[in-house]
Structures are given as C-alpha cells and as structure tokens.
Symmetry: C2
Subunit: 416 residues, 2 copies
Amino acid sequence: MIQFENEYLWELDKSLEGIMINTYETILKEKKKGTSGYFTLGSDSLEIMEDAKQLAQTNTFVKQCDTVVVIGIGGSSLGTKAIESIFKHKTAGVKRMLFLENPDEIDLSDKLVSIEKAKTLFCVVSKSGLTIETISIFKEVIEYFELDYKSPQKEQIVAITDEDSALHKFAHQYGIKTYNIPANVGGRFSVLSAVGIVPLTIAGYDTKSILEGASAMAESFFHGKENHLLKKAALLTKHRKEASINVIFSYANCLEDFTKWYVQLWAESLGKVDIYGNHTGLTPIGHIGSVDQHSFLQLIMQGPRDKTVTFIKVEKFEKEIKVPNIKLKFLEKTDYINGFSFNELIDGECEATKESLSHVGINVDKITLDSLNEKNVGRLILYYELLTSLCGIILEVNTYDQPGVEMGKKILKNKF
Amino acid sequence: MIQFENEYLWELDKSLEGIMINTYETILKEKKKGTSGYFTLGSDSLEIMEDAKQLAQTNTFVKQCDTVVVIGIGGSSLGTKAIESIFKHKTAGVKRMLFLENPDEIDLSDKLVSIEKAKTLFCVVSKSGLTIETISIFKEVIEYFELDYKSPQKEQIVAITDEDSALHKFAHQYGIKTYNIPANVGGRFSVLSAVGIVPLTIAGYDTKSILEGASAMAESFFHGKENHLLKKAALLTKHRKEASINVIFSYANCLEDFTKWYVQLWAESLGKVDIYGNHTGLTPIGHIGSVDQHSFLQLIMQGPRDKTVTFIKVEKFEKEIKVPNIKLKFLEKTDYINGFSFNELIDGECEATKESLSHVGINVDKITLDSLNEKNVGRLILYYELLTSLCGIILEVNTYDQPGVEMGKKILKNKF
C-alpha cells in the first residue's frame, strides 16, 4: 500500500482542470502509439524475468556465482542500484551486486580487487552499445580477468542492449547470451526492462513482485484512478517559475539511490528546449531525512521560496529498535524520546519538518509506503515515471530524448 | 598545489569592484573580532591534534582499537566523513571509521552488528550536546554494548562538544575524556576543530598536513593573495537571481562526501532572511563526473539557465589504470580511447563538458588539484569556507546561525 497526500497551497483553477484532461488524453495516445514502451514493462518483462530465473537456476556456472557485476552507467545502472539498495538488507541469500560505472581509477581498482573471477557473472549494459565509459571498463575487465569471450568462458558474460546495437552484434558474433532492451524504452525509463530485471533476478531478488506493483500502478492510472498524478503534474509545471526546484526528502537511508534515480529521470527528461524554442524544465534534488534536515532545511525554510518538497516515508521497517530508557545525567532534555522506536523518531522528524514548511507557505506533499516491499517499490517507480511523462506533455518537450549531451560527446572525441 | 580558474562570462564592473573591497574589509574585521573562529583553526587545532595523537599512541585501550565510531549528525559528521572518504584508500594502516548519524533502524542495526566492542573507540560529537538523534543513538550504543561509562570502560568513549554544554557536563561527571569545540565555530565550519581532527587523528590520518594546508590558504587570503575568491563571491551573489543554483561537478568518486559537506555549508550558511527581511541565498547541488553527466547535464545544457557549475578535478591519482589496447569486433568506435588512462578519459569528459557548457553561455569555473593530498584538501576546505563567508557578507545575512530549523524542533518535541 502506498498513500499519496498533498498539501499544496496552490489552487486548481478551471484552466488547470482543462490541462489535466488534455494531458490525460495525450498520454493515452502516447501509450497507444508506443511513444514510450515503459508503460507496459510490468507485463512485457515477465518473459525476460522467467528466462533470467531459468538461467540462474539451471546454468551450472551462473548457479554457483556469488557476485553479479553490472558494467553500466546512468540509466544502465541507477535504477538497478536503487532496487538493490532497498532490498539487499532484507532479502536472504541474494548474490552480492557490484556496479562498475565511473571511469574512476581508485573506485575501479578497489572493486576489481574484490572480485573473484570464478564466482562472478558480468552483465554489460549499454542501450546504444557504444557508451565509452562502459565499453572501456568492459575492456579492462576482459584484460584484468583474462576473460576469453570466445571460449566457454563467454558463459560468464551477459549483454543487455538494443537489438542490432554494436554490442548486440559483438555478443552475437561470439554466442554471448544477450537480452534486448525495447527500442522505445529510453535508458532512464528502462529499470523494469532487461536492464534492471535481468541482473536483479539472477542475483535472487523478487523482481516478479516489483513488476506486479508496476503493472498495478500503470493499470490503475490508465483506468483513470490516479487523478492525483495529473493534479501534481499540472501544479508543478504551472508554478515552475516560482518553484523551479523539486526536492525529495526520503526518510530512509536505503532510499538514497532511489533519489539519485529520480534526479536522473526528472532532470534528463524535463530539462529541455520546448517546441517553442524556450529553455524549460524543473530541477530535482534528492535528500535523506533526518540527516539532511541538518544540511538543507534551513535553505528551504528561509532561503528563496523556489522549492517544493516531497516527503517519502516508510511506516514500518522489519527491524524495530527502541531508544533505550536510559537517563543520562545532564542530558535529561533528550529523554522525551526514550521508549519510542527510532522509526517513530524519524517519522516525527518527517512530520515536524513537513508541518513547519507548510506553515511558512511552502508547497509539500507526502508519499507513505506502509512497508518497503517489492510491490510498493514497483508502484513507486511507475508513479515517478508517469509523473515525469505528464509533466513533459504539459511542458511540451520531448520527454524521451537527451540532445543536450551530444555536444560534449563530440568535443570529447576530438580530444583523443 | 591547487589551481583556480574561472571562465565567467559575467563582467566585473566598477560597482562590483567596490563590493569586493568592502567585503574584504568586513571579513578582516570579522576575523579580528572573532565573529567566527574557523579562520585560524589551522593553527588553533594543532594542540588538540597532538593530544589526540598522544592518546592514540599511549593509551593502551585506544592503541589496540581497530575501529573509530563517530556518533554525530550534520556538521558533527559530514566534514569528518568527507576527509575519511578521500584518504581511506591511500592511507596505510588506518583504523576503520563508522558513522552513526541517522536514526534509521536498518542502517543502525547493520552497523551495530559490525562493531566489535573490545576494539572500538566511540566519539560522541554534538556541539549543543543535546542533538536528539545523536544522544538517542548514544543511548542505544550504551545499551547494545553494555557500555559502563562509570567504570574504566569510560576509556572507550570520547566526547566532543562545546565547553559547558550538557554533554560536556555529563562527560565531566564521569571523567570521560572531552575535547572542546570553540564557541565561535559553528557545526558546519567545525571540521578542522576537535570535531574532525580528533577522530581522524586517532584513526591515523595525517591531520597535521590538512591543518597546514588550511593555514596556508587562510594566510594567503588574509594577505590579499586570493583575489579570485572575492571575485567569485561578488559574481555569484550579484547574479543570484538569474543563476540561483550552484552545481559542483567533482570528477572523482571519493569526493562525493566532500560535495555533501559543501551542500550543507552553502545551504545552511546562505539560505537566510537578510537584514532587510528578504528571503535570500543560493542553492547548492553536488554531482560526480562523469557518472552524473548521464543524469544532470541535459538539464544544465537545455533547461532553465539558472545554474553555475564548478568543476573539481584531480590531475593525478596514485593508481593508474590504462584502457587496454583491445579491439572488440563491432565495437571499434570506442577504440579511440585505447591506451589512454581512465583518468585521462575522466579528465577529457570534464574538459568536454566544461567547454560545451561554456559554449552555450553557462558560467563555469574549475578547481584543479595536482593530487589528492592532505595539504590540497586542507586548502580546499578553507577555500569553500571563506567563499561562503564572503557571499554571506555580500548577501547581508548571518552566515553562522540557522534559525530556520528551530520551528521543526519545537513541533517535534510536541509530538512525543
């Protein structure tokens, strides 16, 4: 169960209601036309999930692996990492996952040293198949582990890429197991395609329930039952000049990678030149409560009033730890929290912060997960993807491309 | 050696030059009056550093510890963590450091399980001495490890707090070793006080060189030799309406915690109601290159032109890894990077991104560290602290308080 509540001080006028209706019609058309394929990944990915499960259970090499290495960057790793971070603490017997993302020498050498070749499956993930960081790191992995991709050792490599990409052709040439990313699913919307589902399933995560949660959210939305999403999209985009920054405050450490996934999704989808040639978009920031209350809250409260805040909280964790009933001399002022659980403390901090922001006129909303289970996380992923698409429609941008990064790529190539 | 270069497209007019002169005079006065005490921590903390070193070398219990646990949140942990993250990979023989910050039940229980009581020193860090998260976690540590702070076991606790704080009184009552934070050094400016220096020194880091680097930067600035700082402060504040967001792109994974430290420093110091009653401030965002080029760059390039970007790069790491000279069939387009080091690749990405942003009219600057050594990091810390103070003076805010978080604290208390 997820609850969505908003306490927006902005009002929904007639013109916004019209925008909501048009936007809903547009996204229905997008779904029909297949503008983006992420809407139906909840069911489309079931087959891939079953195949990956089969591989993990029947392939002699994969079965005995204790580590799954994902070689990928950006949309090819962020979502997978987000899901792994949420569930690794609570899922018994999963394989360790390692992410080789950044071409950072310290990080790379530390991770390579920690990998035991004989027990590791390498997933190379690149939509285009030619991502320079990913393929360069893949080459390093080949050399470092003396990985012979032409021999039976190819079993320990899996390629996840677009059909007919260069990486696909390479994998096909040597009989390396390959999973395809649907052509109409962009990197940042791809976590529930083979990109995330394959490595997570092989590592032992309950991806089926994640997909079910995603399906449930998509179906509910396309049956007209998630009106709050349209309302949120209409308000955030309409007031984008006065509130150009959308902060997420997640009250759980294990959601930190999820907020990074959100930052990519929001920034890269909406930061665009619109059809009239204007620079538009909304700026995402991800924070963790209560830690970052000691960092960023002062600015939201008293700085420029250019932010909205979404609070994400979890009602119940599996492990409950109570603040002990200990009275320390001179520290009695802290005793009011004794006997309550740490989650009640963090919950209280979330509520208190939300109320104080609301009190001074800052627009906030709240997403409550009754627990951090797979279905809820699947729902939450679809929630943010749909919200992003809706905002993109209203902003009149192409939500699914990223032309702004091309210039840098060209300049880079000329440097070598 | 650190190099500071800016490629601002904004011009420095006469009025800004006047502001720079006035600001410099004001900060000289602040230093003289002791408005903040961080300016001289480079030398002021030497004594504390020596004392902590002594403790680590002569105290039988501390000597055999292999773990230093910091119990603290916000300014009491961020800076320490930033320094540890930078140097843990390259400093031989250091003790493991663990940070108990957030009252997060999963994080807390995972970390508690990983601690071996007999080999762990606990540093409780709270400026006010009554931080609710910190003292509650301290109570949990006492109960979980059956830590008897009234017995000789008190040797394994160190308190770092303001003189005469409640925590100070508690520690004094039971003879617990205490280090004081100077009254005029606020949490987010305190990393080079006992807050960071004590745990880092005990863990075995070369804090002396960090302090020397800080001293060198402060002296150089107060001898009028860092004019670029005044220029940057004048330009960033003057153009704060059009460019309200200051992004740091650090091209090294180990600088991620440093960017979090920057976010706190910038947000909490400058996000204020100014002396005229206006909400003012600048919004900090921290990113890591090249990973986040695949996430946030599109928004900077094509979204609203409301951002400046500072690139931080490291010229040389200790470990060099070259992209192997491997040609993979169908992937030949990536071969242009073969034979170059991964650091040359990441460097190229940094330059290419900077140039592409500059090309479309976005204001950027660059900080280059010749290597990630202690002196450079000390300099960099002072650089950002001074820059923050200068911006605060121009914005006419109190850089050193944080009144905006008080309302939340009051509401929190009423919830229990």
